[in-house]
């Protein structure tokens, strides 16, 4: 199994004669996959061509990631066939798929904290010495070469846990490239990356394309789809809706195909009813995470927090919510200084936080919807510490109905809901506490266009009802479309505060990247 020594781009040197453009490298026919209670894929088809980027588009839960997992041997389809160069194949395991030349960057980064970067990249197919042992030196140098080739400055010898989200994602990309693949799948590869890294990724896609790879690109961002994809395939509710060439399609058409109806992408009209200052933060600092954070927030206002991924916005918000303890600084709510030592202090004071990592921090998977929704409000629904289930159901119904939750019953395990619906339960759980200040951290991350519009509408309604809203977001249109004012953070500090006409995309990007004022 000894591999020839590779360095840098050498793995791509093995040239593949591009097959005739009309013959797909990989195709799926009549593929179905269901989970208990969900038909994730029904009779779908998909074709990938050499040297072509195919975008897979669909709402949340349309089945995009499921098809990626089928193609990489993680899930076995219930029915249907996979053809590689026209011959039917089976991928009983992820090993089999990579042996056949299918490689993927998955939506979640699925790597190992306690292994080094090089070990992460080569796990399962490491270069070996003639004794059959892993060749540590080769593994290291080849990992370094791969990382360099994607413009990532990461030491291959450090443990993965030392890296931030974006760097982890780069390692995942390097891992996908370490397999000599003919088909490269990217499931929302840019979701966790910052501006500069996204540009490098686009370049990488171009290079792969020119090497004749067949690329499947999944994204919710239309600008990038139009920028790099050649073809598109649309799924809706686990079914195939249509495919075609990008240059022959318009954004409106694609959206129409995705959701089955027209969606206006305009942000909701806001009733701006801004009152007095309710919430002030002064001189907030933490030893390693952020320094000198100061801002104030008015009743009915939506304050946007923009920054590149990893700028420390979440850390500030989590400190405000009592998860971590700042070293200095004070919080003032309604003119009173508040000491927030724990999350329960924050909730009691009326400050709530809708976290960015829904799976880990938001939803309590394994417990039913109503127990999730009532959790921070148990003090209200219970009597003398004893549960009253009827009250819990009533409270849950009240707040989930307003968000149009889709579920089988309120007693259903939240883990069985789609991501978007889990997010609705999490938001409902916080609204039920009737907070004064609500912090939403990336509230629409990984949410499809339809649900996104609804979350926006809802935020507008909250502000109109007099809540003070903080919204952390990495999407410029969302920040500009929703906020009354924007704070830009960079490397743990406030880089700029923008309002009114100063809120332009360019100003945001410059402040976030530390480029100073436009010349």
């Amino acid at each position: 199994m000894a591999q020839p020594e590779l360095s840098g781009w050498a793995i791509f040197k093995r040239s593949i004669m591009p097959p005739a453009p009309d013959a797909p490298v990989l195709s799926l026919r009549a593929l179905s996959k269901s989970f208990p209670g969900v038909k994730a894929l029904q009779d779908v088809q998909l074709d990938l061509y050499a040297g072509t980027v195919t975008a897979l588009i669909g709402e949340n839960g349309a089945g995009k990631s499921t098809i990626v997992k089928v193609l990489t041997g993680i899930y076995q389809p219930d029915a249907g066939e996979i053809f590689l160069d026209g011959t039917p194949v089976k991928f009983p395991s992820s090993e089999a798929a990579s042996a056949a030349g299918v490689s993927a960057i998955h939506q979640e980064t699925v790597l190992f904290d306690e292994l080094t970067v090089a070990e992460n990249i080569w796990l399962g197919h490491a270069p070996k010495t003639k004794w059959g042992l892993i060749d540590l030196a080769a593994q290291r140098s080849q990992a370094a070469a791969l990382l360099e080739s994607i413009g990532a400055k990461i030491d291959p010898d450090i443990l993965l846990r030392e890296l931030g989200i974006a760097q982890r994602h780069l390692v995942a990309i390097a891992r996908a490239l370490s397999i000599d693949a003919r088909v490269v799948i990217m499931d929302e590869p840019t979701a966790a990356l910052s501006y500069k890294e996204i540009q490098e990724l686009y370049d990488l896609v171009e290079t792969l394309k020119s090497k004749g790879k067949a690329i499947l690109f999944i994204s919710h961002k239309f600008d990038e789809i139009f920028r790099i994809a050649d073809r598109y395939t649309v799924f809706r509710d686990g079914q195939f809706v249509g495919e075609g060439l990008i240059r022959e399609a318009t954004e409106g058409q694609l959206v129409q195909m995705m959701v089955g109806r027209a969606v206006d992408q305009i942000f909701p009209a806001r009733v701006r009813n801004i009152g007095d200052v309710v919430f002030t933060v002064a001189g907030y600092s933490h030893p390693t995470e952020f320094a000198d954070i100061r801002f104030s927030l008015r009743k009915g206002e939506i304050l946007g927090f923009y920054g590149l991924v990893g700028a420390g916005r979440s850390e500030v918000m989590q400190a405000l919510f009592g998860i971590t303890k700042p070293s200095t600084g004070a919080v003032n709510l309604d003119g009173q200084v508040r000491v927030i030592r724990s999350t329960s202090d924050a909730i009691a004071a009326g400050i709530v936080y809708v976290p960015e990592d829904r799976g880990r921090q938001g939803a309590i998977k394994g417990l039913p919807i109503f127990q999730n929704a009532s959790l921070p409000s148990l003090g209200k629904t219970s009597r003398a510490g004893f549960l009253r289930l009827a009250q819990e159901f009533a409270l849950t119904r009240e707040y989930t109905q307003a968000l149009d939750l889709r579920a089988a019953s309120l007693d259903q395990d939240i883990g069985l809901l789609s991501g978007g619906n889990q997010q609705k339960v999490v938001i409902a759980k916080w609204l039920a506490t009737r907070p004064r200040v609500i912090i939403l951290d990336e509230p629409t991350k990984g949410i499809d266009i339809g649900s996104k519009a609804m979350v926006h509408e809802f935020m507008a309604k909250l502000a109109a009802e007099g809540l003070a809203v903080i919204m952390v977001s990495s999407e410029i249109p969302e920040v500009l479309g929703m906020s009354d004012r924007v704070i830009v953070m960079r490397e743990g500090r406030i880089a700029a505060e923008l309002a009114g006409d100063a809120m332009t995309p360019e100003a945001l990007v410059r402040a976030a990247a530390g480029l100073g004022e436009a010349a």
Binding site: V263, D264, F321, I323, S342, T343, S344, A346, I347, Y353, P355, R360, Q361, G362, A363, I364, K365, G366, L367, F370, Q371, L375, P376, L378, G379, S382, G385, F386, L387, F393, R397, T400, Q401, D404, L405, R406, A407, A408, S409, L410, D411, Q412, K429, G450, A453, M454, E457
Partner: protein, 328 residues
Amino acid sequence: MSAPHTQNRHLPDRLQTPAMRALRSWEALLVVVFILIFTANSFASPYFLNVWNLSDATFNFTEKAMIAFAMAMLIIAGEIDLSVASIIALASTAMGLVMSAGYGVPVIVVTGIAVGLICGAINGVLVAGMNLPSIVVTIGTMSLFRGVSFIILGDQAFTGYPKEFAFFGQGYVFWVISFELFLFAITAVIFYILLHRTNFGRAVFVIGNNPVGALFSGVRVARVRFILFLLTGLMSGIAAVCLTSRLGSTRPSIATGMELEIITMVVLGGVNILGGSGSILGVVLAAFIMGMVTFGIGLLNVPGIVMSIFLGLLLIAVIAAPKLIWRK
């Protein structure tokens, strides 16, 4: 956006009625197992169906079960306490010390319970306060607590507990209901309410399913964990009072190996060893099942070690059965 069907969607509270759910539950399976074992025992030995004998048999499990209730909550919350048997040893030793110093029954009892609480608090500080993994912390305190009673007692024993003290482990409340059985019933009810009917119990389930999510939802995770260890210590202290009274003496080797029997009881009761689910009713049933199995097999004069094979097989079989049946 405005979907036309937005407002009128009605979600039912539940799809399954609680009664239906109960029928399919683990507890139902345990009831069946219990009936089978009870019937088998009645046929196997003529001595089995005798109230006094059955009453005696309850001593096989009452003390363990009282600790098992607290342990069940701890395991549901994703923690474990392997030091319970050692807490019994230390609490019993402390009771012996105050007894030798001439104090009366009330002081002896309070000492036992207080030492249990202190040991629980030590575990709680180490696990909840310092965020250490409970399985290793309690492997350590297991040696530590029993080690301290060895230091105190060495090869000696405390004997000569007052006559009235015998009530806790040998007395009867009325007719065949022993004090221990009575206490078992009371604690079962208290723990049932605590786990299934209070906010605290809800927090236990939340932490067991997702500790990070619990923290982000305003649950005082560390405090709940600490209280759980305190409760386990308390129940071990109470069990120490009963056991010491039943044996009428204290040696450092008292209750050796009991932690594994308690955990077996909890797991057999359907508590997920990985945390997140379980019920007190299940533990009560498991206590009766284990008590009846050991008593029934004991009546056939099967050597103890063979009995332990039965319990081992029972444990694996009962946990495996639903998994194997469900799979298809």
